[in-house]
Subunit: 542 residues, 2 copies
């Protein structure tokens, strides 16, 4: 070989942080009133201790180790301590239904589970359903284990006390060794598993560090609000260790006030979460002003963000509000609504229009939007299914015959319907499953939702397809109003009128239904399936 | 495989630039009065045409294609058009001696040579010595070939006229396929060849795009002043295509005035070159002020930079002046003297002290300084040889039995002597070959040089070892004074006195020799070997 075949491995991140940034901090909120401040020097030692402790419990190359935990430093230690030995970390989504939690743990064949102390009672109830778990390790500040009838329950801190901080990670792992796995909800049936490799995560971390992407760097203070059990918290904890970035892990039960307090106190420079969180943060910020001037960027993804939200942060608080697009299958970063040089001098309105798009692909990925005629033109109009290819994109679902639906001809078919702007920016218009087909034409539920959410009275809006005898499907809007707004016929009329100005008449919803809240998935996306179930009877086929 | 095995290939850079940044420019100065402005859309077409044209001339997978050229758009087209087909681009250093030029072309077995029109007369003289070259392609604006008795001479632009711009690059190349090669001068004997792979260059390009490294990004205007025949112009042309960055290629015979005109006119944001160039640019800038406020960073490497140079740019012109370290064997970026967050508030003097170091390793590499006791402590004092490991570091010299000297136990032994500061910043003290061993102790020639070059009268200084009967070796200083400074005994005394304040008496040079200029290598480094040859007789063993 003519160049060194140094494998791309997560253990190198730990080594780097320890050597070059030993005093930089992981700020970890483990409960309402406890915040730990762990320097990377200490983190590296604890990570090696964890690897040693779990190896003593029987962890071997390829062993699946599950976590059932919030965002905190122990979870981060598992992010590195488990895969760096050649084992695989399975981050279980704690918000799944009990049946699905049992399914994913059994399907992944987790042998060891690392469980937050405050989540253990919930998980313990499921223990009888778990077929492969041999050990439970309780993550909490206490070295005592909680009262339980389960065998083989250990306290994380007690295990670490007994473990060696000189444990050595193998340097000769193949970079294609599995490192982590997450399951993603399916439209029907059980969740589908996605496995991440060391190579994929390392390349994804480089991508997060690019100036043209998130540009995560040593002098940042990064706070991922997206859970660490959801696509690796978008990869931010990995990248932060790589670059020696201070990170703030917000722990359990954080609310908008906690988030804002952390931003202000820890001088957070970059944070990332779903629109629902940022809507709530904005509401709290408007009610109780804080200093958020340390923020150089907010990254928002997971579902469409209302333009009003983007505008508030961009215009009023001077914080660049960048929309990202990605999936569990894509590690997740696919694209970001960054502004290229030619967009630097556009008006605020144009700027917000660009920010609201899903952006251009990160260097290293290929994206195509395809319909029955192949790749669609970049005209901002022709819809097709978004497909992605690249070195941090999964090529299968773990032991799942639904692989063939999504992975075809070397591309991931995302199930998202989108158009491409003239500049190659992705604009999502719908999920394949959510698309409204009216009289043979497609109507974008997302466009209607965004338009509704720009109305000053509207807090949230979701648009779903309802069966219709003549047109096959018609749109129905479900709207949550801001507090104090009256949900009456005048309001309905006002909203309809505002849509009339923007859309062709056949795009207009058949009706608007006011609701107190919208059902959401475990990661804050509108749960349109539940909405449809709920409203199917409301709108009979006529 | 669980993640896509998308290979890391250079052809993806071309595709990306063409798709997302079709109007961004390559600004290419091909002669004193011609500047081309080529959009990436056109560059991509021409790159495919070049691949098609060379394939028609017989280029196949693994064929070596040489370039003998300055920095310009045609050279950049070769950077991508050749390797993207699976062939290998050999960038011949035009400043080598005729014998060495013939040696490297024969040793690499170049079959096609792409030669600048203004360099062709020089190369044609060597043609009888070249054993493997079948075709010469003349790069210039003319479609006519120059008068020559050589067979198989073609005009680049005429070949492109006949070629197809729909040539398709293979997508299934192995990422470890050789892409490029450069030769590096050896202390004795013929130059040594280093081969770069697609994987190595792609990972190096990600590294250049990191916020914590050069942070090359779409909105930059990058001007590499280091030649494209010297370690890929430090990889900047590759990274610029990847990120859609505007690039300025300064062509043949640029002088400091041309450089400053380009910076001012094209609003260059980042530029890179050796200290000699920046010293000359500074001199011109002081004489004829230009607007250099567009610059966000200057990267300087290749040899030690005087602190006065760093200070002038940092303090007077407010341009961050970042020292880089690297070698032909390292693609080349190993480390950069970037400031970490804890250094943000240091004084200007401390800032310049940090900038003058070789910096911390780029994310993805490992660096150790080793002596006979293993890795040296990070104490800023203990000297050892700098060793490097990582995915863009060569693991051998091309078909050369000197490989065993430099590549051992998975590490590259650089031949550079260095110490590590407490923060893990590399500080070069010498080349193994230049180190002065006086009475069993090591004296750093670089420290003495830097001290001399901070004196206001001194333009350049080199310190070499001279044999000495009692002390084995002693330092001798060779000094070039600024214009108008008198090279007399008073000056000698003044310089000696200034050194006395900073160094132990046994470090002080035995003598100071004033010279009109210092001999330099083809890439602007002091040629200490030549200095020693020149002065060996001056300083007899006594």
């Amino acid at each position: 070989m003519i160049m060194m075949q140094t494998p791309l491995l997560l253990s190198s991140f730990v080594k780097r942080a320890e050597q070059y940034f030993p005093e930089k901090l992981i700020i970890s909120r483990t409960s309402e009133d406890v915040i730990h401040r762990i320097p990377y020097r200490e983190f590296a030692k604890r990570t090696r201790k964890l690897a040693d402790a779990l190896t003593k419990l029987g962890m071997r190359h390829g062993t699946k180790v599950g976590t059932f935990a919030w965002n905190h430093h122990r979870h981060l230690e598992a992010y590195f301590g488990v895969p760096s030995t050649g084992a695989v970390l399975h981050m279980v989504n704690i918000r799944l239904s009990p049946e699905h939690i049992a399914y994913v743990i059994n399907h992944a064949e987790d042998e060891i589970l690392l469980v937050d102390d405050n989540l253990f009672p919930h998980l313990a109830q499921l223990a009888p359903m778990l077929k492969t778990v041999k050990h439970y390790v309780i993550m909490g500040d206490s070295k005592e284990i909680p009262e339980t009838s389960l065998p083989n329950v250990h306290a994380y801190e007690a295990l670490l006390d007994e473990a060696s901080d000189t444990f050595e990670f193998p340097e000769d792992l193949d970079e294609n060794t599995p490192a982590g796995m997450c399951y993603t909800s399916a439209t029907t049936g059980n969740p589908k598993g996605v496995v991440y490799t060391h190579r994929g995560i390392v390349l994804h971390s480089y991508a997060l560090g690019l100036s043209d992407a998130m540009g995560i760097r040593e002098r940042d203070v990064a706070m991922p609000l997206v859970p660490m059990f959801h696509v690796n918290a978008w990869g931010i904890p990995f990248a932060s260790v790589f670059f020696g970035t201070t990170q703030v892990l917000a722990g359990p039960g954080f609310d908008p006030a906690v988030i804002l307090d952390l931003i202000e106190k820890e001088e957070v420079t970059i944070s990332a979460g779903v629109p629902t969180i940022w809507l709530a943060v904005l509401k709290e910020l408007e009610a109780n002003r804080r200093d958020v001037s340390s923020l150089r960027a907010i990254v928002c993804g997971g579902s469409a963000a209302p333009k009003g939200l983007i505008r508030a942060f961009e215009e009023k608080y001077k914080v660049p509000f960048i929309i990202g697009y990605g999936l569990t299958e894509t590690s997740p970063l696919v694209s970001l609504s960054v502004l290229t040089s030619k967009m630097e001098d556009v008006s605020m309105d144009e700027r917000i229009d660009i920010r609201a798009l899903q952006g251009i692909p990160i260097a290293g990925l290929e994206v195509q939007i395809v319909n029955e005629n192949g790749a669609v033109p970049w005209d901002g109009e022709t819809m097709g299914e978004l497909t992605v290819k690249g070195p941090w994109i999964a090529s299968e679902y773990y032991k799942d015959d639904r692989t063939a639906d999504a992975f075809r001809d070397g591309w991931l078919y995302t199930g998202d319907i989108a158009v491409m702007t003239e500049d190659g920016y992705i604009k999502l218009t719908d999920r394949t499953a959510d698309l409204i087909k009216s009289g043979g034409e497609w109507i974008s539920s997302v466009d209607l939702e965004n338009a509704l959410m720009t109305h000053e009275a509207v807090f949230e809006a979701a648009v779903i397809a309802i069966p219709h005898e003549k047109w096959q499907e018609r749109p129905l809007a479900c709207v949550v109003l801001h507090e104090g707004q009256a949900a009456n016929d005048e309001m309905k009329e006002a909203l309809k009128n505002s849509l009339k100005e923007q859309f062709a008449s056949w795009w207009l919803p058949e009706d608007i239904v006011f609701m107190d809240e919208l059902p959401k998935t475990s990661v804050g996306k509108f749960l349109k399936r539940a909405l449809r179930d709920q409203l199917d009877s409301y709108f009979k086929v006529t």
